[in-house]
């Protein structure tokens, strides 16, 4: 191939000896361009650039050819794959001749962080960053932090009380001087780049002046609503709250919220305002409160926006919403909880105590009609709920499962324990749930027992649907806001499934917890620690090196037509007095759309020069 001074084959070019081979050859043969034909540049471009630089050559004299992911792994026809490999290598060899030495730019990193989502993942990440002395903004959409974990009763497999282990962390957030907690708030806009993100946060009005409210809750007592009438979100509608409320007793911050949808003062303006009377000189209630916009600049962002449980209305044959005694697993968490709507008593919506309970696994998981993936936590929380229901009511509990998945520390042991406690197991997917028809309110679960090889119809008093975990319904909007991706299942996409599990394709933005995929609490906490460590590594480096692939104007050739100016999404192009365009290198992110549009060809892009791409095209289309 013309221009090639030395061609070498080595099995693991990315290994230390492989890299040393490159360095040695550069020195021995005076090579001034390097092409490596191996795996995807997304994996090892950095490695090889580094190796090239160590041999004293500018790292941008290097180009990588993707022969693995784009060729050998995807083509069965070997001669055709070899021909393609030759084309790609020829293209790279021709391209690299036109490479010029480039320098990486450096940008400072702001030493603070934004954590979005105040569930256990966000709480843990914020506390870790704060304990390292970094300032953290923790933004939570709901009036309180705590997330789903605050709604759970006990946690598997150890049966620790969820609130007992979570609430100390919640109060630690509130009392940590390094954490600014904005609950009832949402991120509205994100701009900038790694190290320098400008974020706009909308703080919704809670109609309570935060600095004045002491959390005495007397206004709730005094509300003109003598009885709580509004379905309570925290208890999934199983309990009731008043228009002025606190989500749950240990809520952080300890502040009430007024719901303008149901408050009489908002609806008619004619309320006696007994809440204001009782608040008296504290004067913390403000019906005219407006939303507030906060603007912050942070170096790094951790997304911990969590999940939503599957809505079983989408599986109509399970009768959720139709038969009152069909519950979701999250509802049962609230029912068994001592601070729940029934004070921890398991009573059905018709007031009866269940004598038999059927737990249906994989609702909204492992099903081509809903979600194909396994939600990972349902088998274990179903076992936990079976144990708790049995312990509290002595009811007969039957689990209908497809496969029992207990692959964690002490999980299998917990499964055995629950089985020994007398919980029954039927291996089969429930096909239908219908009323027994004799008016006693019982429901019949129909399933094919695949171990017995027969269809069984089992009457129960209560059905628990073990609902799976899904991405938040607005996950798509959120990922666009932060300029990251989602995988096919809708959860946020990590940079690499194994080796960069908390990074994203946006530098400086990390993911933790169930927003990245279903996982249990230990895995979530481990991941939030990893995300915090990544954020810390970035902050403590102080500066970040940015890729040099920015666009630039050759001013002599610029005709001053201004075509480029409105094209730039980052407003990086300005128009000078001498009627020339100029690109601010710091603002340019290197997409190259202005380069493609410039009619005079005066805008060019480092690493993606027109000539380099023409050479690639030429290399591909050279018919040998």
């Amino acid at each position: 191939m013309p221009g090639v001074a030395l061609a070498r084959e080595y099995k693991y070019m990315c290994s230390d000896p492989g890299q040393e081979l490159i360095r040695q050859d550069i020195r021995d043969h005076g090579l001034d361009r390097i092409v490596v034909a191996a795996c995807s540049p997304h994996l090892h471009e950095k490695t090889f650039r580094h190796a090239v630089a160590e041999a004293g050559l500018n790292p941008y004299y290097f180009h990588m050819v993707n022969l693995r992911e784009h060729d050998s792994w995807v083509h069965a026809d070997k001669p055709a794959a070899a021909a393609k490999a030759m084309d790609l290598i020829r293209a790279a060899v021709r391209r690299v001749r036109w490479h010029v030495p480039l320098e990486r730019r450096q940008a400072p990193i702001h030493a603070n962080a934004l954590v979005v989502g105040g569930g256990i993942a966000g709480i843990d990440a914020a506390l870790t960053l704060a304990s390292a002395g970094k300032h953290v903004y923790l933004v939570e959409r709901e009036p309180t932090i705590g997330g789903h974990m605050a709604q759970f009763d006990k946690t598997f497999p150890t049966l620790d009380c969820a609130a007992c282990i979570l609430t100390p962390k919640m109060t630690a957030v509130k009392s940590n001087p390094n954490i600014t907690l904005w609950s009832y708030s949402e991120v509205r806009r994100v701009e900038g780049y790694v190290g320098n993100y400008d974020v706009e946060i909308r703080r919704k009005p809670r109609y309570i002046i935060e600095d004045l409210c002491v959390g005495c809750l007397e206004c709730i007592q005094a509300c003109v609503f003598k009885q709580a009438k509004v379905p309570d979100e925290f208890n999934l509608g199983l309990g009731k709250r008043k228009p002025v409320y606190i989500p749950f007793p240990q809520a952080v911050p300890q502040l009430v919220v007024i719901d303008p949808e149901t408050c009489i003062e908002f609806k008619s303006g004619k309320c006696k305002k007994t809440c204001v009377e009782v608040c008296a000189e504290r004067n913390a209630i403000d019906f005219k409160q407006k939303e507030k916009i906060e603007n912050i600049r942070v170096g790094t962002i951790i997304l911990a926006t969590g999940f939503e449980t599957f809505d079983p209305v989408r599986v109509p044959y399970y009768g959720y919403g139709l038969y009152p005694n069909v519950y979701t697993s999250l509802e049962v968490e609230r029912l068994v909880n001592a601070s729940g709507p029934t004070g921890g008593e398991i009573v059905l919506r018709d007031g009866r105590k269940p004598a038999t309970v059927g737990i249906v696994h994989c609702v909204g998981s492992r099903d081509v009609n809903t979600n194909r993936y396994c939600s990972r936590v349902c088998c274990m929380y179903s076992l936990k709920l079976a144990h708790l229901i049995k312990e509290k009511t002595g009811a007969e509990v039957i689990e209908f499962y497809i496969d029992m998945r207990a692959p964690g520390k002490a999980f299998e042991e917990f499964y055995n324990r629950v089985a020994e406690e007398g919980v029954s197991f039927v291996r089969g997917k429930v096909a239908d749930i219908y009323p027994a028809g004799n008016g006693d309110g019982r429901l019949i679960l129909q399933a094919e027992d695949t171990l017995l090889g027969m269809v069984r119809k089992i009457p129960v008093d209560m059905v628990v649907l073990s609902v799976g975990l899904e991405p938040r319904p607005d996950a798509n909007d959120v990922r666009r806001l932060f300029n990251i991706g989602c995988s096919g299942d809708g959860f946020f996409l990590e940079r690499h499934p194994k080796l960069a599990p908390v990074s994203t394709f946006a530098d400086g933005i990390f993911v933790a917890g169930c927003c990245q995929g279903p996982k249990d609490i230990p895995d979530t906490v481990a991941q939030s620690g990893a995300a915090a460590a990544q954020a810390l590594a970035l902050i403590d480096a102080g500066v970040i090196e940015l890729e040099p692939n920015t666009a630039y104007v050759t001013e002599d050739a610029c005709c001053g037509c201004k075509t480029c100016i409105p094209l730039c999404p980052y407003s990086a192009i300005s128009f000078l007095e001498e009627k020339k365009a100029r690109i601010n290198e710091v603002l340019c992110k290197g997409c190259g759309t202005c380069v493609a549009a410039c009619p005079s060809g005066s805008i060019r892009q480092n690493l993606f020069e027109d000539q380099q791409i023409f050479e690639e095209i030429g290399g591909i289309l050279t018919y040998a």
């Binding site: 991706g485 997409c591 759309t593 493609a596 027109d610």
Partner: protein
């Protein structure tokens, strides 16, 4: 029997979506036609119409541009700019006698490895049916 016609496709894939989708197809060992050669650009908006013309001039049987889905561009809206240029370019190519099937713009996200296969296989099939470009001008070995 004469050798079956194998079209050659020059594919411009954006770094953040379609290039990664092709990487994912690789990691998942999805098998597809070996006719496309990928040129990596940071954004589909970087694809200068000259690149497409150049590829056809040098004998490409087809040109494929792959970008992020609308609204998902890593650079906010570069893919819309690609779309605008592609629409204009399609008219121009039609006038020059380049059949419509030879030039495609596809949105393929980083999660859609399977779609890389679907698009490339489909394009190859259509180009095979269409046959070589007439007159095909082929460059000598450089």
């Amino acid at each position: 029997m004469p050798e079956a016609f194998e079209p050659k496709i020059v594919a411009f894939f954006c770094n953040w979506c379609t290039y990664l989708a092709a990487d994912l197809a690789g990691t998942s060992r999805i098998k597809y036609a070996p006719n496309a050669r990928v040129v990596r650009v940071m954004c589909s908006g970087r694809v200068d119409p000259q690149f497409v013309m150049d590829a056809f001039a040098k004998g490409a049987d087809g040109v494929l541009i792959g970008g992020c889905h609308p609204g998902d561009c890593h650079y906010q809206e570069g893919n819309y700019k690609a779309l605008r240029r592609v629409e204009l370019l399609k008219r121009l190519l039609r006038q020059m006698g380049v059949e419509e099937e030879r030039f495609r713009l596809e949105w393929i996200s980083a999660a859609e490895g399977e779609r890389v296969k679907i698009v490339i296989d489909d394009m190859v099939e259509k180009l095979r049916a269409l046959g070589p470009r007439v007159p095909a001008r082929r460059q000598e070995v450089a």
